[in-house]
């Protein structure tokens, strides 16, 4: 099914050799093969089955400090020869940039550790179908649920990354994911919610009944929402969305945003950005981790980094190009973060809900209202009112707004961190945000 390392290595070497023959001084190449099988159900009936078999070659050629790239899905040598020629031609006439280069040799990954990222188990489509039937059976038990959709995807991936400095590495990864979307209805008005699980190994997948039940329960709880008055209030972010705060941090501390001067956290290294109780870690070497990797997208060794220690910003996310601009060495973050998480807080979820008389608890945001340059934040939201520690009624058609700089300083974490995604955060509270409603 999935092509082996030798097949991919052969193409990578072909690209490097041919590029050098045509005048490239340096070459980087990635060859990828992935096979994906997806089955989806709707209202307990088969809806779609999809099989994907995809190849990709990403090639970058350098002539001294000039650089150009090509991508192709056609691995035939006659096609690659043509494209390599085109790439070299473009490289020759692209203006040079002193920061263009392959990574420093001594930073390259030396050995590939088995991080348990590949499960060779094939889950045949009839098993997927059985799984999805169970998901939907559980999701549709309550009569308020009027529509269910469920999907199961199995993905197998293999790649080789190589460059003309002699680096060559790659490995197989797998991913199984399953989701359920439930639509509930009361008095003609509908709400939608979901649940999903994603794992490297099939055996770690959530039970289908659990996925269905969570999606349905959440959709039913959202029925009959109210719009609330505009006010300043503490906002609690559900675990499904609290990780978004970390994604914002990651964008703002990427070397590109720092070097270009387009981050609200520019010049904040070694400054207090979060309350001193907060630690943020990016660890690429977690066994079975969804964001785990041996090396980054340039082949640079990646190790665990404390991005924020006791509230102080300690590291940027650095690749080779922007590292050179900033006079810093790559820390293996070309391609971004790996397994990024807040260390869990001390308050239990219940204590957090009880820490004030009234909160807004947000379970979903919509829109792309974060501005990395200014730190301004404004998004559509829905969730629940919390009064005396209890979720009292659903809320929708409101916005929450603030500025990340102040929001970061007003975070309190609960102690319920789970490693469910590649970026993970516990439930968190941000004091004093502006809610716009009626």
């Amino acid at each position: 099914m999935i092509k082996d390392q030798e097949f991919l290595k052969d193409i990578a070497s072909f690209c490097i050799e041919n590029s050098k023959k045509l005048g490239a001084t340096d070459v980087g190449v990635k060859v990828i093969h992935s096979v994906s099988e997806n089955v989806s159900f709707r209202n307990k009936k088969l809806d779609e089955s999809n099989r994907a078999d995809s190849f990709a070659v990403n090639l970058t050629t350098y002539i001294e400090k000039k650089k150009s790239s090509i991508n192709s899905s056609d691995l035939s040598k006659s096609n690659l020869e043509k494209l390599i020629e085109r790439c070299i031609d473009a490289t020759k006439i692209t203006p040079s940039d002193e920061n263009n280069s392959l990574p420093d040799k001594d930073l390259m990954s030396k050995e590939i550790r088995d991080l348990n990222l590949y499960d060779e188990t094939h889950y045949p489509n009839d098993k997927k179908i059985e799984f999805l039937k169970n998901v939907e059976e559980t999701a549709s038990t309550d009569e308020k649920i009027v529509n269910t959709e469920a999907g199961f995807t199995e993905n197998k991936n293999n790649f080789i990354l190589a460059n003309s400095n002699g680096f060559l590495g790659g490995y197989k990864t797998s991913n199984f994911s399953s989701s359920c979307v439930a639509v509930s209805r009361i008095n003609g008005a509908m709400e939608r919610d979901y649940e999903f699980g994603s794992t490297r190994f099939l055996e770690d997948m959530m039970e289908p009944e659990e996925i269905g039940k969570i999606a349905a329960d959440k959709a039913i709880k959202k029925l009959g929402p109210k719009k609330i008055k505009s006010e300043k209030i503490g906002v609690i972010f559900d675990k499904r969305i609290s990780k978004g705060i970390l994604s914002t941090l990651a964008s703002a501390i990427s070397a590109s945003a720092i070097a270009r001067g387009t981050s609200f956290l520019k010049d904040q290294i070694n400054s207090e950005v979060f309350p001193n109780s907060i630690n943020i870690i990016d660890d690429p070497k977690i066994e079975k981790g969804l964001g785990s990797q041996n090396f980054d997208s340039e082949g640079v060794e990646t190790n665990s980094l404390k991005l924020v220690e006791n509230g102080i910003l300690k590291n940027y996310l650095i690749d080779t190009y922007y590292g050179k601009k900033l006079n810093l060495k790559s820390n293996g973050r070309s391609g971004g973060t790996t397994n990024l998480y807040f260390e869990s807080g001390t308050l239990s979820f219940k204590d957090l809900l009880n820490s004030e008389k009234k909160f807004l608890y947000i379970t979903e945001t919509i829109g792309h209202g974060g501005n990395i340059i200014t730190g301004d934040y404004s998004v559509g939201a829905s969730g629940f009112m919390v009064e005396d520690g209890e979720l009292t009624y659903p809320v929708s058609e409101i916005t929450i707004a603030g500025n990340f700089k102040e929001m970061f300083k007003n975070i309190t974490l609960a102690n319920d961190l789970e490693m469910k995604y590649s970026t993970n955060a516990p439930t968190l509270l941000i004091n004093q945000m502006t809610v716009a409603g009626k």
């Binding site: 089955s49 994907a52 085109r86 939608r192 929402p225 505009s230 829109g367």
Partner: protein, 470 residues
């Protein structure tokens, strides 16, 4: 035009035979072949940051019976690969029987020329223009902190082979030119973004120094935002400017009128056909036939010729947008709205150029009628929850309105509303309908497709503005 079977071990008639044999017990389906060339050249931080050329080719083989879609795609156009896909499709649909539906209308219309924009402008002249953009903007003073400019060009050839040797073809050019500028003044930084594009060559959009207009507009927006105050929070009147703000229509109404969500009854509009969903005077169409527009298509990705579909006429809901599958299941016909991002994706009913048509009021009349509200001129993106109908979009240029007069500019804020009720809150429709500049991409189910929007100025009685100032 690409010959997909050149340099393969299979020819057109053998492929046609596999298609006919695979689909004989199905209701619909096709072999969709695609050759896609694209380029991206980016100038950033005074340098050519990247130049990338992409070449992608593959097929998507689809079999449809009842409500079930079986799909298999691959880069490998070969006898073995197609046979494997065929087996896969037959296996999925083995217990189902259908009758093949052959009907695809013919068209002689063409809404764009078969040019390859990547090759019709030299690489050197693209680099030169990007450098000119950088120099031109930076010459506006030390206030200019960062300049990014890029060319995105593509040429897509598609071929659709249907059962019984029906073959449909289209060649689609598409370009986009974007400029983004960051200004810094007194420690405050703001961005301005502007772009142009459509289904012509780059030079059609950039000739005679018109690239400077793109730069000036990006600069103007950033400059306005440097002076911006915190946006208000709460419900108020909103005047939307003409053109690009029509992404409100796209999010609030458009998605909810796509056939799939209505067939599945998950759209907030699914039981409103024939009913009043907007104020009288509001007419909204989705038009795939505008010449050279970003959202236009000669035929859709199932081969159906596109059309100008009336969605809402004088406030009454008239039609949904349909692909073949949803049209068949809802007992109607395709509106030429079946689209896919690439051969890797299944067809979904999608928007093309979604437009609210002109009414009779002037923008001045609208603004002078507002005691307290905002005037929104430009937007970033938007998003909608189809089921609850709630939608948002982000202002990138907006002003306060006080006592009928435009006041100071306000910071970017999200506006939120309810799709099925928002159009009833439209109290005045302007006489100044404008098309957007040709930069929109719509995302649905992980697939991005180029779209257009248009509208005149409109006055909305009540919307929630998501600022920070209470």
């Amino acid at each position: 035009m690409s010959n997909f079977f050149k340099e393969t071990d299979i020819d057109t008639s053998q492929a046609e035979a596999i298609v006919t044999e695979t689909l004989k017990n199905c209701d619909d389906g096709e072999l969709y072949l695609e050759n896609h060339k694209s380029e991206s050249i980016v100038l950033d931080d005074n340098k050519i940051k990247s130049s990338t050329y992409n070449s992608d080719q593959g097929y998507g083989f689809r079999a449809v019976t009842g409500e079930v879609v079986a799909y298999s795609h691959s880069n490998d156009i070969s006898k073995e690969s197609l046979r494997k896909s065929s087996e896969n499709l037959k296996d999925t649909l083995k217990s189902k029987k259908g009758t093949y539906n052959h009907e695809i209308p013919k068209t002689n219309s063409k809404y764009y020329e078969n040019i390859n924009p990547i090759e019709s402008k030299t690489f050197d002249s693209k680099i030169d223009l990007l450098n000119s953009v950088n120099n031109y903007l930076r010459s506006k003073g030390s206030i200019v902190n960062q300049v990014t400019a890029n060319f995105l060009g593509e040429h897509k050839s598609i071929e659709i082979i249907r059962s019984d040797n029906q073959v449909l073809k289209d060649d689609r050019p598409l370009v986009r030119f974007n400029v983004s500028v960051v200004l810094e003044k007194d420690g405050k930084k703001e961005t301005g973004v502007y772009g142009v594009g459509g289904r012509q060559s780059y030079d059609d959009y950039l000739k005679d120094g018109s690239w400077k207009d793109v730069c000036d507009e990006a600069f103007r927006i950033a400059n306005v935002n440097l002076e911006s105050k915190p946006a208000p929070a709460g419900e108020m009147k909103v005047v939307l400017g003409p053109g690009w703000p029509a992404i409100l229509i796209h999010e609030a109404i458009g998605h909810g009128l796509e056939g799939d969500f209505n067939r599945k009854k998950t759209s907030a509009f699914h039981n409103l056909m024939g009913q009043q969903v907007a104020s009288e005077g509001v007419t909204i169409v989705d038009d795939g036939t505008l010449h050279q527009r970003r959202g236009s298509l000669t035929i859709d990705d199932e081969g159906t010729p596109t059309e100008n579909t009336v969605l809402i006429e004088n406030g009454i809901l008239k039609n949904y947008m349909q692909d073949r599958l949803n049209a068949r299941l809802m007992g109607t016909k395709s509106t030429g709205s079946g689209r896919r991002e690439s051969y890797k994706h299944v067809v979904l009913p999608r928007m093309r150029n979604t437009m609210m048509l002109s009414g009779k009021y002037s923008q001045d009349e609208m603004i002078s009628s507002v005691d307290k509200g905002i005037f929104a001129v430009s937007f970033g993106g938007g998003q909608v929850d189809i089921t609850s109908g709630k939608f948002v979009f982000n202002c990138t240029e907006a002003y306060e309105i006080n006592n009928g007069k435009i006041g100071s500019s306000i910071k970017g804020a999200t506006l939120i509303g309810d799709g099925p009720s928002i159009l009833k809150e439209v109290s005045l429709v302007g006489n100044d309908m404008k098309l957007d500049p040709g930069i929109g991409t719509c995302g649905k189910a992980g697939q991005g497709v180029p779209v257009g929007v248009a509208q005149p100025s409109i006055l909305i009685n009540k919307m929630t503005v998501g600022g920070t100032k209470l």
